[in-house]
C-alpha cells in the first residue's frame, strides 16, 4: 500500500465529516421550513375564513350575491387575502380579485371539493390558480346554516411571497453554511497541522540519530505524548552514544595494543583468509596492509613452511610452532606460533599466528658459534705448526744446523702470529671493556693529526709494497674522540687496504665534514669484497677468503676492533666494494 502522509490522512477526513454534518443540518432546516411555513399559512387562512364567514353567511342566506362579491373585494383589499365565495354547485358568487361572472365553476377545485365533502369539512390545497395563473395556497371552509350548506368560503394567498421569504431564509442558511465550511476548513487545517507538525519535526530530528549524530537533542513543545516520545528518543540516543563510545574506546584500545606489539599477530579463518593483522605482522611478512584485505594467506606470503604450519593448526585444531625463513628480500628468520582461533566469524575456527623476528638472535648465535670455532681454529693453526717443528727438532733435526735455524725461524714466525692474535684479542677485550666506561674520555681534537699519525704508522708497510698513502683532510676539522683508539682504528683500515691491494697501487685517506657527521674514508684499489660478505665483514674472525687473508698476515680481528672503537665514539661503520675494483671503508663520527 502506498504510504500517505499523516496530514493527508487526517485533514480530508476531518473536514469531510464536518462538512457532511453541516450539510445535513442545513438541508434538514431547509426541508422543514417550507411545510412549517405552509402549515402556518393554512392556519392563518383558516382563521381569516372563519372571520369572514360571519359576514358572508347572512349575505349568502339572503342570496345577495352582489353584496357578497363587494364584501369579498373589501375584505380582500383589507387583509391582502383573496376571498372567494362559491355556491355548492360551484358557481362563484364573490371573489376579491375577479368578477364572479367571468369565472368558471369551481366545484372541481380540490379544496372546494374537500370542503363540500361533509367528512372533511375543510379543504386545503397548494396549486397553481387557474384564474390568476400563479401558485396559491387555498383554504376552503363550508358555510353552513342550520345544517344546510350554503356554499364555500375560500381564502387564498399567493405562494410567491412565501416562496420569496423561504428563498431568502435558504440563502441565509447557505451563506452561513459556506462561511462555516470555510471556517471549518481553516480550523481543521490548523488542527491537523498542529497534530502532524511535531511528529514531522520529531522524525526529521530522529533522522539525525539515524545518521549517527547522537549528540543532537530533540526538543518539541507539543502534547505530552509527543514530548514523552522525544524524551525517550533523547534518552535512547544518549544510551546509544555511551555504548558506542565504549565500543569504540575498547576497539581503539585493542587496536593500540595490537599495533604496538613487537610480535606480529595475524588472524585467519579456515579458508586461510585474513581476518586481522597488526602492523608488525605486515612488516615481518612483507605484506602491504592496503592490499591484504580479504585475501588468503597463501596469496600474501609464499612460504611453504608457514602454510604447512597453518594447515596443521587448522586441520588438527592443535597449537603448533615452527621457524620459517623468508628470503624475498634479506633473509629473515621468523618464529611462528600458531593457535586455534575460536569464535571466528560464522562460527568457523581459524588460526591465530604470533610471529617473532628471530633474525638477530639467529645471527648472534651464528656469530658466537663461528667465533668459538674461529678462535680455536686461528689459535690451533700456529700451535700445530710450532708443535710439529719443535717435535721434529727434538727428534734429531736439532743437530742439523741448517735445518735447526730454518725450523726455529718458522716457529718464531708462528709464535709471532700467535702473539699478534692474542694481542688483537686483548685489544678487542680492552676496547669492549673501555666502551662501557668510555664516554668521559672523549676529547675534542683536530682530526688531521690523528690521520697523519696513522698514515705514518703504516708508512713502512706501504713502502714494502711500493705503495703510496694519500691523505686529504682539512686542518680545521675537529671532532670529539679518543685519539689513540681512533688512530688504531684508522691504522687497521689502512693495513687492510695495503694487505689486499696489489703492489704499486695507492691508498687514499679522506677526512670529510658531512652535514651531521664527520666521515673518515679509506679507499683502496685492491681485489674488493664479494657483496655477500659485506654484512658480516666486521665480525670477529670473519674471513672472505680463508687461505688468502691468512697468508697476508691478518688476524681476522682488525675490522672487529675498528667497529668497536667506532661504537665507543657513538659512530657507525660502512663499507662499499666492487669485486675487482676496490673497497671503500668509512667511519662516521657524530659531530
Amino acid at each position: 500500500m502506498r504510504r500517505r502522509r499523516l496530514f493527508w490522512q487526517l485533514y480530508p477526513a476531518t473536514l469531510l465529516i464536518a462538512l457532511a454534518a453541516l450539510a445535513a443540518i442545513a438541508l434538514d432546516a431547509t426541508m422543514l421550513l417550507r411545510p412549517f411555513y405552509i402549515a402556518h399559512t393554512e392556519d392563518d387562512l383558516e382563521s381569516r375564513v372563519q372571520l369572514a364567514e360571519d359576514h358572508i353567511v347572512p349575505l349568502l342566506a339572503a342570496k345577495e350575491y352582489a353584496k357578497t362579491d363587494a364584501l369579498c373585494k373589501e375584505l380582500g383589499q383589507r387583509s391582502a387575502t383573496r376571498f372567494t365565495v362559491i355556491l355548492p354547485d360551484g358557481t362563484v358568487v364573490g371573489d376579491s380579485l375577479q368578477s364572479p361572472q367571468q369565472m368558471d365553476k369551481h366545484n372541481d377545485r380540490p379544496e372546494v371539493r374537500d370542503a363540500l365533502n361533509t367528512d372533511m369539512s375543510k379543504g386545503v390545497s397548494v396549486r397553481k390558480s387557474v384564474t390568476l395563473k400563479e401558485t396559491m395556497c387555498y383554504v376552503a371552509l363550508p358555510v353552513q346554516q342550520r345544517g344546510e350548506t350554503l356554499g364555500v368560503v375560500r381564502a387564498s394567498v399567493s405562494m410567491a411571497g412565501i416562496d420569496g421569504a423561504l428563498g431568502t431564509i435558504t440563502d441565509h442558511i447557505l451563506v452561513a453554511c459556506l462561511l462555516t465550511a470555510a471556517l471549518l476548513a481553516v480550523a481543521t487545517l490548523i488542527i491537523a497541522r498542529r497534530v502532524v507538525k511535531p511528529l514531522e519535526q520529531l522524525s526529521r530530528h530522529a533522522e539525525w540519530f539515524a545518521r549517527g549524530d547522537l549528540d543532537h537533542r530533540l526538543s518539541t513543545a507539543s502534547s505530552e505524548e509527543i514530548d514523552g516520545l522525544a524524551e525517550t528518543l533523547n534518552k535512547m540516543a544518549a544510551d546509544l552514544k555511551d555504548k558506542l563510545d565504549t565500543v569504540v574506546r575498547q576497539r581503539n584500545e585493542r587496536d593500540a595494543i595490537l599495533s604496538s606489539m613487537v610480535e606480529g599477530v595475524l588472524a585467519i579463518d579456515t579458508d586461510q583468509r585474513l581476518l586481522r593483522m597488526n602492523e608488525a605482522a605486515a612488516r615481518l611478512l612483507g605484506i602491504e596492509a592496503a592490499r591484504a584485505e580479504g585475501r588468503s594467506l597463501p596469496e600474501l606470503v609464499r612460504n611453504i613452511e608457514l602454510h604447512k604450519l597453518v594447515a596443521a593448526v587448522i586441520a588438527t585444531q592443535q597449537p603448533a610452532e615452527g621457524e620459517i625463513v623468508l628470503r624475498d628480500r634479506e633473509a629473515r628468520f621468523l618464529h611462528v606460533h600458531g593457535t586455534v582461533l575460536r569464535d571466528a566469524p560464522e562460527g568457523r575456527n581459524g588460526a591465530l599466528l604470533v610471529i617473532y623476528d628471530i633474525t638477530d638472535r639467529k645471527r648472534l648465535e651464528s656469530i658466537r658459534r663461528d667465533f668459538v670455532a674461529n678462535v680455536s681454529h686461528e689459535l690451533k693453526t700456529p700451535v700445530t705448526s710450532i708443535q710439529g717443528y719443535v717435535e721434529t727438532l727434538l727428534d734429531g733435526a736439532m743437530d742439523d744446523n741448517e735445518k735447526r735455524e730454518k725450523f726455529l725461524r718458522i716457529v718464531a714466525k708462528h709464535t709471532e702470529r700467535l702473539h699478534a692474535i692474542l694481542e688483537d684479542l686483548l685489544t678487542l677485550a680492552r676496547v669492549e671493556q673501555e666502551g662501557e666506561k668510555m664516554q668521559s674520555v672523549l676529547a675534542n681534537g683536530p682530526l688531521r693529526g690523528v690521520l697523519e699519525a696513522a698514515v705514518t704508522a703504516c708508512g713502512a708497510k706501504a713502502e714494502e709494497k711500493d705503495m703510496q698513502i694519500q691523505l686529504t683532510c682539512p686542518t680545521e676539522l675537529t671532532t670529539s674522540m679518543n685519539a689513540s683508539l681512533l688512530e688504531q682504528a684508522v691504522v687497521n683500515l689502512i693495513d687492510n687496504a695495503i694487505a689486499y691491494s696489489p703492489p704499486g697501487q695507492k691508498v687514499e685517506v679522506f677526512g670529510l665534514a658531512g652535514e651531521r657527521e664527520i666521515e673518515i674514508r679509506v679507499r683502496d684499489h685492491g681485489c674488493g669484497i664479494g657483496r655477500e660478505h659485506l654484512p658480516r665483514i666486521f665480525e670477529r674472525f670473519y674471513r672472505v677468503d680463508k687461505s688468502r687473508s691468512r697468508a697476508s698476515g691478518g688476524t681476522g680481528l682488525g675490522l672487529a676492533i675498528v667497529k668497536h672503537i667506532v661504537q665507543i665514539h657513538g659512530g657507525r661503520t660502512a663499507v662499499e666494494s666492487v669485486p675487482g675494483e676496490g673497497s671503500t671503508f668509512s667511519i662516521f663520527l657524530p659531530k
Binding site: S296, P298, R302, N303, H307, R531, E532, P579, G580
Partner: protein, 218 residues
C-alpha cells in the same frame, strides 16, 4: 556462477599457490647452494622436487576434473586453463632448480673455481622475475605481468655475457673445463627459469585480459 565451482577454483588457487611457494624456495635454495658451496642444500632442493611433482599431478587432475564437471566459461575457464599452464611451468622451474642444485653440489668441491660476479646479478634478476610473475598471478595484475615480460632481455644479455666469459676462461685454462661447463649449464638453467617466469606472466595476461600475447613482437 555456482558456489561449488567458486569453491573448487579457490581450492585450486590455494594448491597452485602452495606449489608456487615451494618452487620459489627451491630456486632460492639452489642459488644459495651455488654461492655458499653447500652440497646439503642441493640435496634439499632435490627432495622438495618430489613434493612438487606429486602436487603438480594432483593439481592437474583436479583442474581436469573441474573442467569436466562444471564446464566453466569466460574468466573461470581462463583461470583454469592458466592454472594448468602455470602449474606446468612451475614444475619445469622446479626441475631446473634441481639441475642448478646438482651442478652447485659438484662445484662445491672445486673451491679454486670462482663463481663470476655476473651470476649473482643474473640469479637475482631471475628470482625477481619469478617473484614478480607470481605476484602478478596472485593480484591478477596484468601491468606487473607485462613488466616481467619486458625484463627478460636483461637476463638473456647476462647469459650471453657469462657465456663469452666462460668460453674465454676455457681457452685460458682447459684443465677446469668440467667446472666451466657446469657453470655454463647453471646460467642456461637460470635463463630458462626466467623464460618460464615470462610464460607465467603471459598466462596471467591471458587470464586477466583474455588476450594471448605470446610470439608477439611489441
Amino acid at each position: 556462477m555456482s558456489i561449488h565451482l567458486q569453491r573448487e577454483i579457490d581450492k585450486l588457487k590455494r594448491d597452485l599457490l602452495l606449489i608456487c611457494s615451494i618452487v620459489e624456495e627451491q630456486v632460492e635454495i639452489a642459488v644459495s647452494a651455488l654461492f655458499d658451496r653447500d652440497p646439503a642444500l642441493a640435496q634439499k632442493v632435490q627432495k622438495m622436487d618430489e613434493d612438487v611433482d606429486r602436487r603438480e599431478i594432483n593439481l592437474e587432475e583436479d583442474c581436469l576434473k573441474t573442467l569436466a564437471l562444471h564446464q566453466p566459461v569466460a574468466i573461470n575457464l581462463r583461470q583454469l586453463i592458466a592454472a594448468l599452464k602455470i602449474n606446468n611451468d612451475l614444475e619445469r622451474i622446479g626441475d631446473m632448480a634441481v639441475n642448478i642444485a646438482r651442478k652447485a653440489a659438484a662445484l662445491a668441491a672445486e673451491t679454486t673455481i670462482e663463481i663470476p660476479a655476473d651470476f649473482a646479478t643474473m640469479s637475482e634478476q631471475t628470482q625477481a622475475m619469478l617473484r614478480k610473475s607470481l605476484d602478478a598471478m596472485v593480484q591478477m595484475d596484468a601491468v606487473l605481468a607485462r613488466e616481467v615480460c619486458a625484463s627478460d632481455d636483461l637476463v638473456d644479455q647476462l647469459k650471453g655475457k657469462i657465456r663469452s666469459r666462460i668460453e674465454q676462461q676455457i681457452r685460458q685454462d682447459p684443465e677446469h673445463i668440467g667446472s666451466m661447463l657446469r657453470l655454463l649449464s647453471v646460467s642456461r638453467n637460470l635463463e630458462r627459469i626466467a623464460d618460464c617466469a615470462v610464460n607465467i606472466a603471459e598466462d596471467v595476461i591471458y587470464m586477466v585480459d583474455g588476450r594471448i600475447v605470446r610470439h608477439q613482437a611489441d
